[in-house]
């Protein structure tokens, strides 16, 4: 849903031939009105975009970005030779696809379950509870997660001990850290994610169900033949958007949960960029190079996802 609207936003051509100056004058109030926002974009979006040139420079703290020397592709050559970068790159893709596989179907299933739940008051309360965590920051959710999955004092391991089952370390064992990410991602986001599907399901013409009932269709059949077709195009669009966003595996979540012992499976490009920038000996130009690398891949992915969507006859992203 995030970007679907953009296709309609292009301006229409074919304006009447008036003199440009006169037209600008006639619209001067509009220019005045949008001026603050335009300035905002210039300062806080376009000026930092110029900073991307740092990826091709050696940063000089005293002289700033413009005064730094050009070094060509040196920074990119450096990151390519850096195993930590490839580790982060690999993890970003694995975690993104893991989230897609485990997390993407959950809201759909939840929406169908909710649409089939008949107790209306209970449904309302449950929906409030299911959607609420989406509105909490990962700082807070990470607090919950620690209370449950902490190695020694966590609830999970206490329960395992009580049941005489082996303990597991989710926060400190690279083997289980990704599962923890998928699990907590679902806990936080699935409820809210289901809302968009529920809205689509509830907009289905009720006479369809009546007709189906006369034809003897049960509720399972209704789900397969009425509800699923209704949400299918939303599913495809969101899936494509998700694929377009594969390079962002969830900075807030991981930054609040990870620690050095799980870098091997949990460190992603965004967290790596942060550490490159602000921990130990900061290397601004390398950090920008990694970020740029990410942006380029991200853009290519989005672009292909958009093309693909249009190819199969769905609404595109752009």
């Amino acid at each position: 849903m995030e970007t679907g609207m953009i296709s309609s936003s292009r301006s229409k051509t074919g304006r009447p031939k008036k003199s440009l100056v006169r037209e600008i004058k006639a619209n001067k109030h509009i220019y005045l009105l949008i001026l603050p926002a335009v300035l905002f974009y210039l300062i806080f979006h376009y000026v930092p975009m110029y900073g991307v040139t740092l990826a091709f420079k050696k940063f000089n703290f005293v002289k700033g970005i413009t005064g730094s020397k050009w070094v060509g592709l040196t920074n990119f050559k450096y990151i390519i030779s850096e195993p930590e970068f490839w580790n982060a790159f690999k993890n970003t893709i694995i975690i993104s696809f893991g989230k897609l596989i485990w997390g993407f179907p959950m809201p759909i299933i939840l929406a169908i379950l909710f649409s089939e739940l008949r107790m209306n008051r209970y449904k309302k309360v449950a929906q409030t509870v299911f959607t609420f965590p989406n509105f909490l920051s990962w700082v807070i959710v990470a607090g919950f997660v620690r209370a449950i999955f902490a190695d020694e004092s966590g609830v999970y391991n206490a329960l395992m001990t009580m049941l005489h089952l082996p303990q597991k370390s989710f926060l400190g064992n690279p083997k289980h850290f990704r599962s923890l990410l998928y699990l907590t991602g679902i806990w936080k986001g699935a409820g809210w994610g289901s809302i968009i599907y529920l809205a689509t399901i509830s907009s289905v013409d009720p006479t369809l169900y009546e007709a189906a009932a006369i034809d003897g269709a049960g509720r399972i059949r209704n789900i397969i033949h009425i509800k699923w077709p209704a949400i299918k195009s939303t599913v495809v669009l969101l899936l494509l958007l998700n694929i377009g966003g594969v390079m962002s595996a969830g900075f807030d979540q991981i930054f609040n949960l990870y620690n050095p012992t799980v870098y091997s499976t949990g460190d992603i490009i965004d967290t790596y960029v942060y550490r490159l920038s602000f921990e130990r000996a900061p290397r601004f130009e390398v950090s920008v190079a990694v970020d740029t690398f990410k942006s380029v891949i991200n853009f290519m992915l989005l672009f292909s996802a958009d093309r693909f969507a249009k190819l199969i006859g769905e609404r595109g992203i752009f």
Binding site: E2, T3, M5, I6, S7, S8, S9, R10, S11, T13, E23, I24, Y31, L33, I34, P36, A37, F40, Y41, I43, F44, V47, P48, M49, G51, V52, L54, L113, L117, R118, Y122, V129, F130, T131, F135, L136, S137, V139, I140, A142, G143, A147, I148, A158, L159, W187, I195, I196, A199, E210, G216, A217, G218, I220, S277, F278, D291, S295, N298, R315
Partner: protein, 305 residues
């Protein structure tokens, strides 16, 4: 499958029963949703229990079903500690002024871009949309803030996040969907664009305005990363960052000893969880009442696409 056939047979007899009769399927759905419900609520309940039981109790049985040996000491300690309240103060400032600033930029731009045409509109639109996919990233933004002299100032938490392009587009689409006659009649009466915006458009756009305001307020309330980058002075930390730091303190045995002496029988985990609750209470209280606005927002964003 047999069950299903039975179900459809009963339905054939009377289509009305489809909406009224309870079937085994209802029971299954109820059980699944209820299990999910418990999973959703349990972390809240668990953390709350940790925040109110004594340290001995917590260490003995981290897995609790109900509280034993209740003490409100954690909350008392936190009420006396200024850090959390400083965080509250900063966050309230950021939310209040930040949302005002957001709404000013968003409504003016959205309204401007909803006008039929003016020279440069197409280019402007494209330049704005590019920012949704391309940005300078962490370091260039950091260097900009530094250059602007906003380091370690609360305004560094407000100014850089002035406008969310996605929200702006939602609002623009809403403005565009309003009947054009409304504005034309105002123009005939001699009203100017600004007057039209404030006197006519905004009052009838209350639904979208309130939704977007809430989205911005929530984003600001939950923001912590801006402060990680730009704020050094602990007194200027927003609530979320105060909480983040409190939660990530690792308790070493020596520290535990010090804490033991000062807090007696309260576990650091209890304090952490109490801090978590104290910073979550406002959203918990407000959410049930404003949920429908968020839902509206997602629908407007999706349907107008």
């Amino acid at each position: 499958m047999a069950k299903q056939d039975m179900e459809s047979k009963t339905k054939r007899r009377s289509s009305v029963s489809y909406m009224t009769k309870r079937s085994p399927l209802d029971a299954v759905i109820f059980v699944i949703i209820t299990l999910g419900f418990i999973i959703m609520v349990y972390p809240f309940y668990n953390s709350f229990l940790i925040s109110i039981v004594s340290k001995a109790q917590y260490l003995k049985t981290p897995f609790m079903l109900y509280p034993k040996d209740v003490t409100w000491q954690s909350y008392e300690i936190l009420f006396r500690t200024p850090t959390l309240w400083d965080g509250y103060k900063v966050t309230l400032i950021v939310v209040f002024f930040g949302v005002l600033y957001n709404m000013f930029l968003t409504t003016t731009l959205a309204y401007g871009l909803s006008r039929k045409r003016f020279p440069g509109k197409g280019i402007l639109m494209n330049l704005i949309i590019v920012t949704m996919y391309f940005g300078g990233g962490m370091i260039p933004s950091y260097l900009l803030i530094k250059k602007l002299g906003l380091m370690n100032r609360i305004s560094a938490l407000i100014l850089p996040t002035g406008l969310n392009t996605f929200y702006m587009l939602i609002m623009r689409n809403y403005f565009q969907s309003l009947p054009a006659s409304l504005e034309e009649s105002a123009k005939i009466d001699g009203a100017r664009d600004l007057t039209i915006l404030f006197r006519i458009i905004l009052p009838i756009s209350a639904p979208v305005i309130s939704t977007i305001t809430l989205f911005y307020a929530l984003d600001r309330w939950n923001d912590w990363f801006g402060a990680v980058l730009y704020i050094k002075d602990v007194k200027k930390y927003p609530l979320q960052l105060v909480l983040r730091n409190a939660l990530s303190i690792v308790i070493t045995p020596e520290m535990d000893h010090v804490l033991k002496n000062s807090i007696k029988n309260k576990s650091p985990m209890g304090l952490k969880m109490a801090a978590l609750f104290l910073s979550m209470i406002p959203i918990m209280c407000v959410y049930p009442f404003v949920q429908k606005y968020f839902v509206n927002g997602i629908m407007v964003g999706a349907i107008k696409g």
